[in-house]
């Protein structure tokens, strides 16, 4: 905790009264960081960079944007066409949302693999989940602002979810909308909150970093630093490594901004919002698709619980389950590197989430395997059978066997079930039964003779 040597007397004078330079030196310069962090550890700082990019471009966009149901769409086009480099600002911001989520998802899965949520980092993990939830709310409201068809109908679908809440659901939806449908008041409050929430995220990020700096970063080996030989100062080692990673990341980001700026968006959002015309498929942005699949997986009631409520509960639970993850995962070994069975299930979980995203993009009742034609033929046959039976005075729907075919929603149900199985059943059991590999004795001495320190 030694104070840095300060040659500038002004800085020293200030630092004596508010030790901000000492603080920065301590937390950003000499901050001892495990020396073995891989490039997967770059994604935390990348997320921080993206937050800044989004706030800066967002503030400038807000100077030109008009939050009015009649003017919003046109004001976005004005930004694209008449504001100097407005197209660049907007494409940085719109693609930035996607990039932010890519980075954060990788960051989360890195934490999942290396057990970064385990003691003593549970609060750090919680704060991360809160940031993710805030990001989702912010992104959702941001997508509404251009007031295109997907903006409007996405807002309608998602706000309608709250009507699933028993008794007060409909009142809550009316309250959220500020009226009896998504309209001007909705757009205005979404704009207000879309501007506010990023700063709330900044606040939680500060807490996230604070919690991080208490015990320091986890690392690929998942074992604690045992002394100065295991750590290196954050600066210049990780500042330069993070900068290199950021430059590479910006190459990918720039490819989207400059060459495929609308690839991640939906063409319907270039059609102005029209409450009278429902798009054929209402789909959220890609980063919400897995959750959308979980939401739609529940197409059946359980007892008194209607499917809609179940879907909403499951969707929120798919994130909330992460809050209790530190206790669901009973393994004492943090890093997946030393967990030979967990490793495979981790890969399956990733595949599961990707499949969920794929299902989320599809119409739930489209056939998964059978061709549209064969399904059409079978349905025609069924309808003909029903018509015939009805004509004969019988109940056609009971007489005829409705053709069954596997639909996307069934795959969604399977993958949703697996998602919860992974966290709620697999991890608790695996932690108790898995034979983990021997842990190295320290970060700087990876080669060990025995199994000292291994779990179990």
């Amino acid at each position: 905790m030694a104070a840095p040597t300060m040659n500038n007397r002004m800085i020293k004078w200030f630092d004596d009264r508010l030790p901000i330079f000492t603080f920065m030196h301590h937390e950003l310069h000499e901050y001892p960081t495990p020396k073995n962090l891989s490039y997967w550890w770059n994604f935390g700082s990348l997320a921080g960079i993206m937050l800044v990019v989004m706030i800066v471009t967002g503030i400038v966009l807000a100077m030109h944007y008009t939050a009015d149901a009649n003017l919003a769409f046109g004001s976005v086009e004005r930004i694209m066409r008449d504001v100097n480099y407005g197209w660049l600002l907007r494409y940085i911001h719109s693609n930035g949302g996607s990039m932010f989520f890519i980075v954060v998802y990788i960051h989360v899965f890195r934490g999942l693999y290396y057990g970064s949520y385990k003691s003593p980092r549970e609060v750090l993990w919680w704060l991360g989940i809160i940031i993710l939830l805030l990001m989702m709310a912010t992104a959702f409201m941001g997508y509404v602002l251009p007031w295109g068809q997907m903006s409007f109908w996405g807002a309608t679908v998602i706000t309608n979810l709250f009507s699933a809440i028993p008794l007060v659901g409909d009142s809550i939806v009316t309250w959220l909308w500020g009226g009896f449908s998504v309209d001007d008041p909705t757009l205005n409050r979404f704009f207000s909150l879309h501007y506010l929430l990023p700063f709330v995220i900044v606040g939680v990020v500060v807490l996230h970093l604070w919690a991080l700096h208490v015990h320091g970063s986890n690392n690929p080996k998942g074992i604690d630093m045992k002394g100065p030989q295991d750590s290196i100062p954050f600066h210049p080692y990780y500042t330069v490594k993070d900068l290199f990673g950021a430059a590479l990341f910006f190459v990918v980001y720039a490819v989207f901004i400059f060459f495929f700026p609308d690839y991640l968006g939906h063409p319907d959002n270039y059609i102005p919002a029209n409450p009278l015309v429902t798009p054929a498929h209402i789909v959220p942005e890609w980063y919400f698709l897995p959750f959308y699949a979980v939401l739609r997986a529940f197409d059946f009631d359980i007892w008194f619980m209607p499917a809609k409520l179940l879907g909403v509960i499951a969707m929120f639970a798919s994130i909330l389950v992460l809050f209790v993850l530190p206790w669901l995962d009973t393994s004492r070994v943090r890093s997946g590197t030393f967990r030979p069975v967990f490793k495979w299930f981790f890969i399956i979980l990733i595949i599961d989430c990707v499949v969920l995203g794929y299902v989320g993009a599809k119409a739930p009742n489209d056939p998964l395997i059978a061709s549209q034609e064969s399904v059409q033929a079978a349905n025609d046959e069924y309808n003909a059978c029903v018509a015939k039976a009805d004509a004969a005075g019988k109940n056609g729907e009971e007489e005829c066997d409705k053709p069954f075919f596997v639909q996307y929603v069934h795959l969604g149900q399977l993958t949703t079930a697996y998602y919860f199985f992974h966290f709620l059943l697999l991890l608790p059991i695996l932690g108790r039964t898995e034979r983990t590999l021997p842990l190295p004795t320290s970060i700087s001495e990876p080669v060990t003779k025995g199994g000292a320190g291994a779990g179990q």
Partner: protein
């Protein structure tokens, strides 16, 4: 499973509609979508630019065949200067339009000749007027049409060249509808807008339907993304810069980390 299956699927259908607030019927209609081919465009690829001659011809097609029903409200005449029209040409194009302006000092609205700063005026006063003149259908503004459709340029070309004189056997067309390969559901209210020699190209190009469709598609692609050429040029510079920067930072990283074991 099967007895449950019927019930389940009925719940599926009902609840999917309820939960998502979207009509299954519309989804089903969309699945019978149109077919669109692929074509090479001057503006595709990372070095793609808008073919200037095609843009000029496309403007002629737009004015001659589209503008009587479709607006282009996000494009001002002056924007044409960005793609090679001279100031004089732009003034000449603008002056052919009559623009409603006002109120003047006496408080009256008046009409005047177009100026380069004016936008292409919309052909109808409002949506109701547009629908009344088009059998209930609303001709969309074309400023963003290429971005507002999946694979927009190919789609638009497919739509403009996809008309059939008669519907295929077994297809019953609704009153006032035309059969089109590209349009979702294959029934479109817009009559075939392009005919061979429908415009007299200033550059003497033969005005086939395909030529006109390709030209007006290029023009409308520009209208949807007028920033594209600037964007791609800047993008190449930015990416080259970032690649060099990445290389330098990698070298620095290697050097800084050289003593860490």
């Amino acid at each position: 499973m099967n007895g449950d299956g019927v019930m389940t699927r009925r719940i599926v259908t009902g609840l999917a509609a309820a939960i998502l607030g979207l009509g299954i019927a519309t989804a089903a209609q969309a699945s019978g979508g149109g077919t669109v081919g692929e074509r090479h465009w001057s503006f595709q690829g990372i070095f793609g630019t808008y073919d200037r001659a095609a843009l000029r011809r496309g403007l002629q097609v737009f004015q001659g065949s589209c503008a009587s029903c479709h607006g282009l409200k996000y494009i001002a005449f002056r924007n044409l200067q960005d793609v090679g029209f001279t100031e004089g040409e732009v003034k000449a194009i603008a002056v052919d339009y009559t623009i409603a302006d006002g109120p003047d000092d006496a408080g009256d609205m008046f009409e005047r000749d177009g100026k380069p700063s004016d936008r292409f005026p919309s052909p109808f006063a409002n949506e109701n007027a547009a629908r009344a003149s088009n059998g209930g259908a609303l001709p969309p503004d074309l400023s963003l049409i290429v971005k507002a459709r999946a694979d927009g340029a190919n789609y638009l070309y497919g739509l403009l060249t996809g008309y059939h004189d008669e519907a295929p056997k077994g297809v019953e067309l609704m009153e006032g509808m035309y059969y089109n390969d590209a349009f979702s559901g294959n029934q479109i209210a817009m009559p075939p807008p392009l005919f061979a020699d429908g415009v007299d190209y200033e550059d003497g190009t033969e005005a086939t339907v395909e030529q006109m469709a390709a030209d007006v598609t290029t023009f409308l692609a520009w209208a949807a993304s007028p920033e594209m050429e600037t964007r791609k040029r800047l993008g190449i510079k930015v990416i080259l810069f970032l690649l060099v920067l990445s290389g330098l930072l990698y070298a620095v990283k290697r050097k800084v980390w050289a003593d860490v074991h």
